[in-house]
Amino acid sequence: MTSTHLPLPPSLPQPAGVRERLVRQLTGLGGLEVRGGGATEGAVTIRMLAETLEEATHALAGTPGTRLADMFADNDGDATTLRLVWADESGYLLTETEIEGDDYPPLSDIAPAAFVEECEIYEQFGIRPATGKPLNRLMLPPHAGPDFPRLGHRPAQPLDEAHAPHTVGGQAFEFPFGPVRQVGVESLYYGLVTSGEEVVDLYLFTWHKHRGVERRLRGAKPRDAIFLAERVEGLSAVAVGWAFAAAAEAALGIAPPPEAARTRAVALELERLYNHAAATAALCQATGLTVGQSAAEIALERLLRVNAAAFGHRYLFGIVDTGGVGRAPDIGVLRRELPGAYGELRRVADALLTTNSFIDRLEATGILAAEQARRLGLVGPVARADGLALDARLNTHGPQGESAAGSPYTGHPVKIVTADGGDVFARFQVMLGETEESVRLIDELLDAGTAAGCTPLPPGGGHGLGWTESSRGEVLVWVALDEDGRITRARLRPGSVRNWRGFDDACRSQNVFTDIPIIEASFWLTVAGMAR
């Protein structure tokens, strides 16, 4: 278990590119062991002792281009294992640490991107950072007593009700809003602190929608679990379903047939297209431009009908399956109908970009500083609108090694769209740029060939990490399967989980109440993805 150096054991293939740098950052630290397990080239697992965790976190958080993508825990019998997922453009590094006792090093002091996860882990597993700083209630409702079902052990002390401390100076007051909000939107509770018009502070509660999906997946077989995984955040059904399937495939050491992998990628781009159209409609609604909203909704409806005609479901449910895809697209329909539907969206976008009354509401609204986006570990168009060029599609290392047979993006590189300024307008521009790239990518993938088909799942177990780039950002799924192939732990982390924590910052200071729906539309997250 302990070693003073980190030479990679000869049996493990040398990791490629920048990821090697990540692993090398940890050289010289004691208490490390590279796990031979996990067939995914794109993800390396390192087991480390608790004593090394703080130093390792410093090293990785301090490396430019590296970010903390997720943190979660697991209860295997009595011991609680803490897992961190670090990412850079070439791949993922998982660290695995057994925590004895009730606490672990204060990681969010080093990597602020870990704060929300620390709260969740305390709620579910009873272990907390050693500094004892206040942690917020996250998933479990206020009435959740000591016997309320958790993924692990209950915390020794009840959670604090405190949200992030803020100074309410002068005449500012707190204004609770929700969870039942305007018509046709998800339930969400905001605590709004205001001095009248300006947003002094904003905090969110999503526990009203917490369905306990990670707990429900325990004991399930992957094929049954994917049905629920798709419905964690239905607007990202392809992204979450694919990440889940990829995690199970990595755990079992298989890859989907290449044509099936390309089918997944086509479906994912169709999902990105309709989501960005829906976000455009929501932006128009939030700014009061009803004609724009109607025009965008016409485009959205056309895109959903393309999905139904090509793949049999408006929201692309039931396409991804473990080992591949259950359905192939109707290529004729797709080639015939998609250009017209996209053209509709493009014309709306062009008209919006020349409508000054609309653009004025977007510019300089909801500014999120690039440094803050980086510190909080944000993903997706929100991060890219701050100039951070991250996208899970860039990581093409699949489960079968160098040739990346599993990744459909090998040979079909994705152009990443970024913008500067971090305001609503920048996020809107990123989304528009991405729709153009999605249409181009779909065309290329159809040319290369798509088909239905699944690689059969072999018996046995293992653990693996899967990842996709949903319309709202990177989705990560980690699964552990026992020898019967049943799930012992499924970690589902849609993009919304990463990005809601940036929403409060984007809403503060210069913004007024009426800006909040505009900022919310520009983030285009879901409560369901957070409250799974």
């Binding site: 309320f148 969870p179 039942v180 046709g184 939107v185 339930s187 009203h208 929608k209 929201y315």
Partner: protein, 170 residues
């Protein structure tokens, strides 16, 4: 009367009452009890140009006080019970509750410590609309049935097909 006959009689009375009162203009309030967000997207499209529910005399209202019909999605997460009941009780009678989507009807989530599994565990449901998600057309049919404008088809469908032919319901 048998329980089935009781239920059918109650349903008939609901239909008559609704048709008499809401036939011309209906105000709808939506309620999300834990959905995956897709049902909400289909509901939002009801006001979009392709569907335009206002041409049928249906309107959305943000205020429960002005609403006649509560359109409910999601499997009724237990932590949401209080909010659900308060929304329902804030609506003055007469009122109709429509549960929409497989989650709200008892599919997808079996009851456990986190969810009831169906809307009818907490609210008295009058009309059920299946689907995952119910498309805007299915929602329009459901709302029209709820106000007595359309007769429901479901009682006549058997979901059987000929042994030889392909497609079609009995």
């Amino acid at each position: 009367m048998t329980p089935e006959q009781d239920e059918a009689e109650a349903a008939r009375q609901v239909r008559e009452r609704i048709a008499g009162q809401f036939g011309r203009s209906l105000h709808i309030r939506t309620l999300d009890t834990g959905s995956c967000a897709v049902c909400e997207q289909e509901i939002r499209l009801l006001t979009a140009p392709h569907y335009d529910l206002q041409r049928l005399g249906f309107f959305f209202t943000p205020a429960p006080r002005h609403a006649d019909l509560l359109l409910v999605t999601g499997p009724m997460v237990r932590a949401f019970d209080v909010a659900a009941r308060k929304t329902y009780e804030a609506m003055p009678g007469p009122k109709v509750v429509v549960a929409t989507g497989a989650c709200a009807l008892g599919g997808v989530y079996r009851p456990d410590a986190f969810v009831h599994g169906e809307v009818s565990a907490v609210l008295p449901v009058d009309v059920w609309i299946p689907g995952c998600p119910p498309s805007p057309l299915a929602l329009l049919q459901g709302l029209s049935v709820a106000v007595g404008r359309l007769t429901e088809k479901i009682t006549g469908l058997t979901f059987t097909a000929d042994n030889a032919s392909s497609g079609g319901a009995g």
